[in-house]
Amino acid sequence: MPSYQHIEPFLSVKQPGLARWLSYIGLGLGVLLLLSSIQLFINIQLLLKDKASTTNGADFISVTKTITNANMGKDNSFSDADLANIKAQPFITDAAPLISNQFRVKASAGSIIPFSTDLFLESLDDKFLDTLPPSFSWSEGEPEVPIVFSSDFMEMYNVFAPSQDLPQLSDKTMSSVGIILECYSPAGIQNYRARIVALSDRINSVLVPASFMYYANKNFGGVTNVNASRIYIKTTDANNPQLLRFLSEKEYRVNKDRTKFGRVKQLLQAVVSGLAGFGVLVILLAMLLFSFYLQLMIAKSQHNLRLMLTLGYSPGWLSKTVAKKWVPVYTTIITIALVLTALLQWGFQHQVMYERDELSPLIHWMVLLTALVLLMLSILTNYRLVKKLLSRLG
């Protein structure tokens, strides 16, 4: 059976000129742009993943009523009607009030940590917590109250502790610190032991079980029905324009970090997606150039190709043999682009990101898969074009 080298003298195949080298370079740049955009997109996802506020695709944000000169001094808590209205919005998956203490609470840590302060306590529906150890529960009569403490607060404590001659606390040692909660009521002071059982990245508060808060507000504060000053809402997208419009209309404030954070991430993703789109365009243009070259080659060789078909050459075999000639070209270009992307990723992780754990120094499998798909598509498109051109000769 003949091979390409036997039929090559019969085809008008010129050595690569400037135009062809330009199309090779164009294809390589396009592929590099696309692959590195995909890797960058993945890097953004990994680096800017806010584990605490986002779970299973949901965003959790805290909402308060905006305090203005007009409503300052008035009751700015959320009523049941407010809460029901919030829950009824289609862009809000769920909402829960943060119930705060209606009595004075003082916390101290005994002789180990000579620290004493007035404190605020809050409680929140368990399903909004990012961390829920089994020990976070309380029943009437239990002398010890579990606390879920904000990790931001813990970090703040560890920052100022040395200046106050107080010991810094690690995540492991914090649970061994015995806390005394002094609950003040008209009838006197009731002391409870307390222990930090978990740190929350999501909720900036000192949380106690809802059962304790209800009991304490009733027995020390004399109130059972407490309206919340803060609401936590669960939504699929903290940057949903409808959500933002609703909050604005209602004059509700949100913790802007979350939304700003989300906006930055969105912007970066948009830029990278734009780059990827540009990369695809460059690839398409390069492939178009290749196809022009193929069409020219086949047009110039049509007399000989037609005669070969007349003499018994199979159009399928001719298509495959001519198209196969391009496989090494595509493979080389895409491999070079892939290697460059891998080097860029390694450099990014090592030199720019100082070997952060969230990032791998290796390229993501999706980048590799994209390169393989691109290669297959190039080969297939090439083969189909050659086959189509040859079938017109037959």
Binding site: F10, N304, L307, T310, G312, S391, G394
Partner: protein, 213 residues
């Protein structure tokens, strides 16, 4: 292996003008091993007939069947296989690759579907007196030399039928006889049929049947 020709007539022919033809509008069969001599004056459609039989033209009425398969229904791949293994041809207009050498012209066909265990190109070229032309471009060969090249090319593959369209028009008597002898020898080794179409009777061609177009 048989070719059945059923009432074929070129679409550009007037049926009335073919009343005396032994081919047009007739039902014929060509059996493998039976040589056919078609005598056709100029303009009678000799080349058209050969092209119809080879399948490169379909502008005719009627049908041509190879065994029971109408060749009008062959797709490009089926034609390719058929032309590699079952039918060979010497075109009247030769259809060589003029920019390539004689050897390249022969090898491009031989490699496709070789019949001989070892390449017979040099031996055949020597028999027909063109052994010194193998590395020369075809365009530098005379028309007679090119005819001999086309003849050798047709004999390098397996075939059941060998179609010849005025293959000796530019050969002298001696070369005609040598070429005919070579073709008959190769045809007999394949137990194949030669269908020779020419303006006049070729006396040194042994045929079982003679048809007038």
């Amino acid at each position: 292996m048989q070719i059945f020709v059923d009432n074929i007539l070129p679409v550009f022919f007037d049926r009335a003008n073919t009343a005396n033809s032994q081919v047009w509008n007739q039902s014929l069969s060509f059996t493998k091993g039976e040589n056919i001599h078609i005598i056709a004056p100029s303009g009678s459609g000799k080349t058209s007939l050969v092209h119809f039989l080879y399948g490169i033209r379909k502008d005719y009425q009627g049908s041509i069947r190879y065994d029971m398969n109408d060749i009008k229904n062959f797709d490009a791949e089926k034609f390719a296989v058929w032309r590699q293994r079952h039918i060979s041809i010497v075109f009247q207009d030769l259809r060589l690759f003029t920019d390539q050498t004689v050897l390249q012209n022969l090898e491009i066909k031989r490699l496709l579907s070789p019949f001989h265990a070892n390449s017979p190109v040099e031996a055949m070229a020597k028999k027909l007196g063109i052994e010194n032309k193998l590395d020369k471009p075809c365009s530098t060969c005379s028309y007679g030399e090119q005819q001999r090249i086309a003849i050798i090319r047709a004999l390098l593959q397996p075939f059941d039928f060998l179609l010849l369209d005025e293959p000796f028009s530019h050969l002298d008597d001696a070369n005609r006889k040598k070429a005919m002898a070579l073709m008959e020898e190769e045809s007999q080794s394949r137990k194949a049929t030669i269908v020779l179409a020419d303006l006049r009777e070729i006396e040194y061609f042994t045929s079982e049947r003679t048809l007038h177009l």
